[in-house]
Symmetry: C2
Subunit: 218 residues, 2 copies
């Protein structure tokens, strides 16, 4: 069985859970807690030297990390990865946009406002991230006012990549009501087969970090 | 002919120039200057609503933006994109690493230290970016101590994606001498066919921003 490393509060991990759920892939999850710094723990760096979740371990011991690379790998030869070369490039274009311009604004804003003890100590950084988040959401709103899905005529892994941190905009001070095209798109995503809501878990089994590394199993 | 939008001081644009040079693709370049804010100029937003360079316009008017998506598109069915699915995922894994963990540290550090009037005003941000850059270079050094190329047994677009901002580490206070495996890898990249050095241009023709938008041509 596949082993997914990551926590349910991470949107990057949730993307992988959503796609595994959609594709019906069974997996277990090792809980790697970001609030305890576990992605940079020496034990985890033996799994992923990049020090980040998610990572997926295959039954033969091979490890693939990075949400975008994982989504690509499992989506190949499924309807979530289109056939024409230009359409494939468009999927990656939006996935790179998410990792470069969208997630570093919305996810970091969420981290500072929800998971740090004193958000007031980060006011100028928060103001900068609100501005960047507004721009990123504006790019999405404009795209989704013209098209049902992010990267082409049908849903792809780009939709799954963009869903979690976009949906969580209401945790960081944005209102879904202000982004009508995005809101309609989120409802379409939520009606896709085997949709997995945020903060829920599709894993067959969950293993605590210390337990996994006490007796590593493939 | 292809039209590339971007400036020669941008590593993200240079990646595309390097791959176009390697593949022998003729193109012209519209100079979009970041120091003048031209990527967010309303005229450029009609080309790329994401407000970023590079972007490539095809002769039929279609536009593809994002360095990673552009590299993928043009590398398909060339030796720069491997055949096995797992190797392809590995290429993307390193390209996402570059855009998420490497470029936002090294390129932003370079911007603050080289292209802002008063770097002294950004001391705490610079300290944070030095720490993140050191971690990213450490990940690369570790990988390249074990392998000749970034993402597999042969050079791929991941090598081109990681070259510019890694090579520019000496512009932001790092010394190539401290990273021996990275330095050997850079020399290997520089010996690849039709290698294009930083700050040089492979375009057949260069068009100024205002001139292009005065009389747009495909």
């Amino acid at each position: 069985m596949l082993t997914l490393f990551g926590n349910v509060e991470s949107g990057n991990v949730h993307k992988v859970q959503m796609v595994f759920s959609r594709l019906g892939l069974p997996f277990r999850r090792v809980d790697v807690r970001q609030d305890l710094g576990q992605p940079r723990d020496a034990r985890f760096l033996t799994i992923n030297p990049m020090g980040k979740v998610p990572a997926v371990r295959f039954p033969d011991g091979d490890v693939l990390s990075d949400s975008g690379a994982i989504l690509f790998y499992f989506a190949l030869q499924t309807p979530l990865w289109p056939e024409p070369r230009r359409d494939q490039a468009e999927v990656l274009r939006w996935m790179f946009f998410e990792q470069y311009s969208h997630e570093p604004a919305l996810a970091v804003l969420r981290y500072l406002k929800r998971f740090t003890p004193d958000p007031g100590a980060h006011q100028s950084r928060i103001a900068d991230l609100v501005s960047k988040s507004t721009f990123a959401l504006g790019v999405l709103e404009k795209r989704l006012a013209q098209a049902e899905w992010i990267a082409g005529p049908a849903p792809t892994i780009a939709d799954y990549a963009l869903y979690p941190y976009t949906r969580w905009m209401n945790e960081v001070g944005f209102s879904h009501d202000d982004w009508p095209a995005i809101s309609l798109w989120m409802r379409r995503v939520e009606k896709l087969p085997r949709f997995l809501p945020l903060y829920t878990d599709a894993a067959r089994e969950v293993i605590a970090f210390a337990d996994y590394f006490a007796t590593p199993q493939l």
